[in-house]
């Protein structure tokens, strides 16, 4: 693997680590583990922990994928491994 491809892959892994950490936080932490604590706060008529489990985590998932696509398309171009 050339040096260039190596840094490309490392950056990819860094993006994955960050995005998947957020993925874990919004669902497993906010929606389950910390939900009881968060339920003392209200978002309109929603207790916050309940909102994360039934709504918020799903919105976050969608945003995460689109951010990933944006970052990777940019990265592909930078390292000249993108498709025509």
């Amino acid at each position: 693997m050339s040096k260039n491809k190596n840094t490309y892959w490392k950056t990819n892994l860094k993006y994955l680590a960050i995005l998947l950490t957020i993925w874990f936080i919004v669902s497993f932490l906010f929606g389950i583990v910390l939900a009881e604590y968060l339920n003392q706060f209200m978002l309109g008529g929603f207790p916050l922990g309940f909102w994360f489990a039934h709504q918020g985590s799903i919105y976050a998932f969608v945003i995460l994928i689109f951010v990933y696509v944006y970052l990777m398309n940019k990265l592909d171009k930078k390292y000249d491994v993108d498709e025509i």
């Binding site: 491809k5 309940f50 491994v81």
Partner: protein, 565 residues
């Protein structure tokens, strides 16, 4: 027009559309049959993936399930959407670059082993078949209730339609039919929700409506919590502390299982480029999220409406929909204290009303007094959901047989024409077999969906991830990981499922984890075993290491048929 006429009209119309699409999008080659020629637009593929994913269970059962579970129902919402993040980030782009037709293709080549391919093939067949039987049953139920045909006839009509467009069109026909089915099902799910949200809260967006104030100025959720606790039920938004570990594991098993399901993964082989595979997963989740964020709103509306309409009301004055559903046996009233009034309470000794959770979505428009065409629309939507998922699964079954088993295992010298013919025969046999099993489902079928997700999570998911992200992973590691993961998960599920003959009792669950959630643990075990074994055995051959490096960058992704295999 009556509800009946509207239902016939809308169901007939949508079926006509599916058939026309099937005729226009016939498959002419194996490439078209397996992966729709590899040229599907990413947004269209997103819609098809969404329709493929959202089954009769998502459409008909999930909102009802949540309505009776409250907070814990979030495990289905997060579990069945979160897996797409894993798919988009960890699997789809690399598998697309790999550029073959099936999951066993990848496992077989990455682990340079026919046995690994065979293990993957058996898992794929098992997972897909258990799943498809449930869909056929869903078709039968929807027909039976709304078109007044016997359950059996309903299943037979379903078989006929799927047979026609799946055998003719393969993945190409299925993909474009699924695009149409997505439009029907999402329209059918959201329209009643919007009406009801407007009725109850004045807000047309259900996702916001169920967190808004009702017509009486009280927050809807607050009111539902109060109604529930008054009747002795748990407060709707409250958290059952004792169930949190189990909820964590179930959510995980559903997410990792989603990312390992062959009929979902194969959808990302149908787009032209790696970047299309990434964005296609994004579109798919966006389209899925429309239904998955509406469902919890429907759950809250329905639960509130049921309590308001029925609790403490005289039985002689129940609305017409109540009597209709009573006839199906899915709703029943037993006047235990002979006062002629419906007591709907948590205490099983005193409770007089039994509501089957599966009727919530179908009955919801009637409960809210919506016009008859909305009810017809919901039926057409439910059928679209069941048919699209069934077709996607049947394709995986037929591909597994004609491509993985026949072409790559038994008779490598088979011609393209012979393989396409075999694929058509396989899908025809699979449709009929699934239909027959749906007519007469063995008692265990409903119970094995847990097994389908558990198996996908504990077998495919780690094997694929390691195949991409760990260059040192070899066949010894991957195969032992898969086998131990599968054996552990299957044993635990069978042992703790009385319906499968297991002697285990819930109080003996490990850390309170129910069979539905054990796939998460099976997956972790698979990862650990695979990593350990691989480090103590010989490294993979150089050409496999080169393959692993090749799939890590997008450039040069051939269309799937580009390679002679």
């Amino acid at each position: 027009m009556s509800t009946q006429t509207w239902t016939y009209l809308l169901v007939g119309l949508t079926f006509l559309v599916y058939i026309i699409i099937a005729i226009v999008a016939r498959a002419g080659s194996t490439k078209e049959f397996y992966v729709a020629g590899g040229g599907v637009n990413p947004i269209a593929n997103g819609m098809a993936t969404a329709a493929d994913w959202m089954s009769a269970a998502s459409f008909l059962s999930m909102a009802g399930l949540i309505a009776f579970m409250g907070f814990s129902g979030g495990q289905y919402l997060m579990g069945w959407t979160g897996g797409y993040v894993l798919l988009a980030l960890l699997l789809a782009p690399y598998l697309r670059k790999f550029g073959k037709f099936t999951v066993p293709d990848f496992i077989g080549e990455r682990y340079y082993s026919k046995n690994a391919r065979l293990v993957a093939l058996i898992c794929a067949l098992f997972v897909s078949f258990t799943y498809v039987v449930g869909q056929m049953k869903g078709v039968g139920v929807a027909f039976a209730r709304f078109l007044n045909v016997p359950f059996d006839t309903g299943v037979l009509i379903g078989i006929g339609i799927v047979f026609f467009y799946a055998v003719l069109g393969g993945m190409k026909g299925i993909t474009y039919t699924q695009v149409a089915q997505f439009c029907v099902l999402i329209f059918a799910f959201t329209v009643p929700a919007i009406f009801i949200s407007l009725q109850m809260t004045g807000n047309p967006i259900p996702q916001i409506g169920f967190g808004s104030k009702g017509t009486d100025g009280v927050y809807l959720l607050e009111k539902l919590n109060l109604l529930s606790t008054d009747l002795g039920f748990d407060s709707y938004t409250n958290i059952d502390r004792g169930n949190l570990v189990n909820m964590f594991f179930i959510t995980g098993a559903l997410m990792f299982g989603t990312a390992g399901l062959p009929h979902v993964i194969v959808r990302f082989f149908t787009v032209p480029r790696v970047k299309d595979a990434r964005i296609s997963a994004g579109w798919a989740l966006l389209f899925i999220a429309i239904l998955y964020t509406t469902a919890p709103a429907v759950a809250v509306f329905a639960r509130t409406n049921i309590i308001n309409t029925l609790s403490d009301k005289p039985y002689s004055q129940v609305p017409e929909w109540f009597t209709n559903w009573e006839k199906t046996g899915l709703l029943s009233f037993e006047d235990k204290n002979n006062d002629g009034t419906i007591q709907y309470v948590a205490d099983a000794q005193l409770n007089e009303l039994t509501v089957d959770r599966d009727i919530i979505v179908l009955a919801n428009p009637e409960i809210a007094n919506l016009p008859p065409w909305v009810i017809g629309l919901v039926v057409a939507g439910g059928l679209a959901a069941a048919l699209s998922t069934a077709a996607g699964l049947l394709l995986v079954i037929s591909t597994s047989i004609s491509h993985d088993l026949l072409k790559n295992y038994l008779r490598p010298d088979i011609s393209e024409k012979g393989e396409l013919y075999a694929a058509r025969v396989a899908i025809a046999v699979a449709v009929v077999a699934a239909g027959l099993a749906g007519l007469n489902p063995p008692g265990f079928v409903a119970q094995v969906v847990a097994l389908a997700f558990g198996l996908a999570a504990s077998s495919f998911f780690p094997a694929i991830i390691l195949g991409i992200f760990d260059k040192r992973m070899n066949q010894q590691g991957a195969i032992s990981g898969m086998i131990i993961g599968i054996i552990f998960t299957t044993t635990y599920i069978i042992y703790f499922k009385p319906q499968l003959g297991g002697p285990g009792l819930p109080e003996n669950f490990w850390w309170g984890i129910s069979p539905e959630g054990i796939g998460t643990l099976g997956m972790i075990i698979n990862f650990v075993v695979a990593l350990l074994v691989s480090r103590f055995t010989s490294p993979p051959p150089p050409e496999v290491v080169a393959l692993t490096e090749r799939i890590r960058t997008p450039r040069g992704a051939d269309s799937p048929s580009g390679q002679t295999h």
